[in-house]
Symmetry: C2
Subunit: 159 residues, 2 copies
DNA sequence: GTTGAAAAACGCGGAGT
DNA sequence: ACTCCGCGTTTTTCAAC
């Protein structure tokens, strides 16, 4: 779904508004970008169809769900086979506490962001991680405070 | 907005549905949780008012915005005054390429997730970071591949 | 807390400029 | 490609169980 839809100034403004707040009515967005509702609606449709807007979600308060602790987990591995990777990936994907998962360059092979209620719960996730695949080095860093978290991407680099 | 709204099984199911996809109609959600639309609507209202649902946003494709490169930046500092912190925080908050920003325990003091088009653009962000406040140690790790990214938090820990 | 239905608002599409 | 306008649906409110 990676499409090459050209994004003009109005399209960018629509994206900006929607990635800040997707609850506003079509009419408000239309007015904000200086369009009537029909063409604005069609633009939003195209943005969704082309995959530029991937989905629309509700962001839930982590405290309310009792997962206020964020842990970053750095993983090093000695095994670098395709088979091992697929297994590791499947293991990690299936753990709902893992909300982000990256393959890295440099000395760390993988980086995970995990959300849990406390350190004891993290230990359970840790055990699940190392149980899923063969041995590797794991190093955990705890976040004391979330200073910024946004799903809004910067719009300044659009070609 | 940190409220102690009790979350029952139906409330959790509503949250789960909405954090997967906030576009579905009220009627669909109501049917899925086995409620008629009025009580379901009231529950969602309460979840929003109490702050359990923080906001509703559109997730935009990073490739389409030409910010396909994720960099994790570890920051160490020698200065630990309140004044320095406030200045650093303000600097970082103002940089739109920084999408996540945590104060950490352990050897690293702060961890940032930065999204940019390429390494050259990252260098510009790096310069902006070190220009904002006094000297500190900065270490950058590049993500080669995003294996998982979700805004959906696990629901299994609700008390 | 639930239901069903009425009132209001909105999304969506067509025809025209 | 946008504006205007109206139909059909959905949200939202209300009265009653």
């Amino acid at each position: 779904m990676a499409s090459k839809l050209k994004l003009d100034a109005i399209g960018l403004k629509i994206l900006d508004l929607l990635q800040q707040d997707a609850e506003q009515q079509l009419a408000q967005i239309a007015e904000a970008v200086g369009l009537s509702s029909t063409p604005c609606w069609r633009r939003i449709q195209r943005l969704k169809e082309s995959g530029v807007i991937r989905r629309q979600v509700a962001l839930v308060d982590a405290q309310a769900l009792n997962v206020g602790v964020t842990v970053f987990v750095s993983v090093r591995t000695a095994t670098h086979t395709q088979e091992w990777f697929e297994r590791f990936r499947a293991t990690v994907q299936a753990i709902p506490e893992v909300v982000e998962f990256y393959r890295m360059s440099g000395d760390v092979d993988y980086l995970l962001r995990v959300v849990v209620p406390d350190i004891a719960a993290y230990d359970a996730v840790y055990k699940r991680l190392i149980a899923g695949t063969q041995l590797f080095d794991v190093s955990s860093s705890f976040a004391m405070e979330e200073l910024k978290f946004t799903t809004a991407l910067p719009l300044g680099y659009v070609r």
